[in-house]
């Protein structure tokens, strides 16, 4: 079997490992428009912060491609899927035949129309290693940085460069920061913390016009800056599959084996729609753990194995200047709430299952909550009141502990 993978990030790596679990022989070719060894995208802010470096941020060891016998075509753009001829067409005219294809093409920064943005001399996105390195070159100690977008990417960027610039202002159209993962109260706690660390905010506004190094906001305020970072959002890269006639929505549509509507073509990672097990909705869940899991499912399926069922859900671990935020699932149902200083916790539950949670500050053992969500553990089987106060295994039935900690099986 000839496997071709478009992409070289978490989903692609998951697919390589999934394929090699089943098929040690088949030829695997990885095509990527980047030229780097596989690296962790979410680490680019840590790179600027000096918490990692180019060697340590590699997602897999230097010997990864060799160990897994992969051919790498890096610095190449795939422009078309020839579904009849079962081949990938490259921008340079090359044709790469495939038996099974995985599209793990990721997403691209989305920059909404902002009049005058082309007049800004120093503007950057913050998605890739190249973006981070380009931004790094532009930094200087007195620099005033304007970040458009108070989401995960914009705020991680702010943290990453805070020590290396003079001033950072973050603006967002939403009335609160991290609006995709936090409720109002949680967002307020994190914003206060970020402000103490020197980040300024303008919320509920957007840029009306740019003129060089000046931005006029919709509230009439004018901000002068030296460096602009746009981190408004991302768009899944769906065009390869869409142009080939494959089914797409906001992302590429796949089944539980990560197969697209085109025979022998699979997709995984930030470019696909996944079923969120906590809401039952199909959505783009552009998060590294989901990308790896989807890639691995695809790889196993492509190699003819039996992959595990996808159990995707929103889950975020993010921290700023020592304040940690862990969230998972859907924020619907009854609410259990605890607040002590900057420690904040909200659990959302209904119909005897935990749907989601937000934890800020004290986040120990949060995975016990994630597991309750993922496994849809009936809350009536555990001491939910106890586990709500503090995640612990003591709140579970003795039989659960005997199985998980004692290695006893109740199947026989």
């Amino acid at each position: 079997m000839e496997y071709v993978i478009i992409g070289n990030s978490a989903a692609a790596v998951g697919a390589v490992e999934g394929i090699r679990q089943i098929d040690k022989e088949g030829k695997i070719t990885l095509i990527s428009n980047e030229t780097h060894h596989t690296y962790s995208r979410p680490l680019i802010s840590y790179l600027l912060q000096g918490k990692t470096d180019r060697q340590r941020m590699k997602y897999r060891p230097d010997s990864f491609y060799e160990d897994n016998v992969c051919i790498t075509l890096f610095g190449k753009n795939a422009t078309e899927i020839d579904r009849e001829g079962k081949a990938i067409v490259l921008e340079d005219g090359g044709r790469i035949p495939y038996g099974k294809l995985l599209v793990a093409a990721g997403s691209s920064p989305f920059i909404p129309p902002m009049p005058g943005i082309e007049t800004v001399p120093k503007r950057f996105s913050f998605m890739s290693l190249d973006d981070a390195e380009a931004l790094e070159k532009a930094l200087f100690p007195q620099a005033r940085v304007l970040i458009v977008g108070a989401g995960l990417i914009g705020l991680k960027c702010a943290e990453g460069i805070e020590d290396r610039v003079g001033k950072i202002t973050v603006i967002d159209l939403a009335p609160r920061i991290l609006s995709s993962i936090l409720d109002e109260e949680g967002a307020h706690i994190v914003q206060e913390h970020l402000e103490k660390c020197g980040i300024e905010f303008r919320l509920g506004v957007s840029v009306k016009t740019f003129a060089g190094v000046r931005a006029e906001l919709t509230n009439g305020e004018c901000l002068d800056f030296d460096i602009l970072v746009t981190a408004v959002g991302v768009r899944p890269n769906i065009s390869l599959v869409k142009d080939a006639g494959g089914k797409t929505d906001k992302g590429i549509v796949v089944d539980e084996f990560m197969q697209t509507s085109i025979p022998d073509v699979y997709a995984a990672g930030d470019c696909v729609m996944s079923r969120d097990i906590t809401s039952g909705m199909d959505r783009v869940l552009a998060l590294l753990p989901n990308a790896y899991a989807g890639g691995r499912i695809a790889g196993i399926a492509m190699a003819g194995g039996e992959p595990p069922k996808p159990k995707m859900m929103p889950m975020n671990a993010i921290g700023f200047f020592g304040l940690h935020i862990l969230t998972a699932g859907t924020y619907e149902g009854d609410v259990f709430e605890m607040r002590e200083g900057s420690n904040y916790k909200k659990l959302f539950y209904s119909g005897n299952v935990l749907n989601g949670f937000i934890m800020i500050g004290k986040v120990d053992k949060a995975g016990i909550y994630t597991s309750l969500i993922r496994e849809k553990t009936p809350l009536s089987d555990i001491d939910f009141e106890m586990v709500s106060r503090e995640p612990s295994l003591i709140a579970f039935a003795r039989s659960y502990r005997d199985e998980k900690l004692g290695g006893k099986s109740y199947e026989n």
């Binding site: 962790s40 060891p61 691995r296 889950m315 975020n316 995975g367 502990r401």
Partner: protein, 141 residues
């Protein structure tokens, strides 16, 4: 494959496993300098509600979410043991969010730490060696 298993009914709640773990992973030669006046950060922790008690450490899962979800590639599973390469870890807490047993915790440096079955400490986990009542054992089940 040998793992640390819990015999809940035998646990006295004495917390010796926590001290032995912290000592074994301290790199120090004597217990006093490793533990005295130090807030220990053991990789095994006793849970108790006053009546029931038991010790919890990494299960070295067959399908470890901590490893598959790790964003840096710092967590790996080799020969049945889930290990963390602390130099690669940036302390993002995705593993804390992923572990169903609460068994990955931050070290003093901010990088995560976890039980590696004392693979580099002589092979038999120090927690088990020092357990006075066989409440944790290192065996195949």
């Amino acid at each position: 494959m040998k793992r640390v298993y819990v015999n809940e009914e035998w646990c006295l709640g004495c917390h010796l496993c926590e001290y032995n773990c912290a000592f074994a992973n301290s790199g120090k030669k004597d217990m006093a300098s490793a533990l005295k006046n130090i807030k220990i950060r053991p990789n095994i922790r006793v849970e108790t509600d006053g009546k029931i008690c038991f010790a919890v450490s990494c299960r070295h899962c067959d399908e470890p979410f901590c490893v598959s979800n790790c964003i840096s590639g710092a967590l790996t599973k080799e020969e049945g043991i889930i290990k963390i390469e602390r130099e690669k870890c940036v302390g993002c807490y995705t593993c804390v969010l992923s572990c169903p047993y609460g068994c990955i915790t931050p070290s003093e440096s901010g990088a995560m730490q976890k039980c590696e079955l004392c693979a580099n400490n002589g092979g038999v986990p120090a927690c088990v060696k020092g357990c006075p009542n066989n409440a944790i054992v290192f065996e195949e089940r």
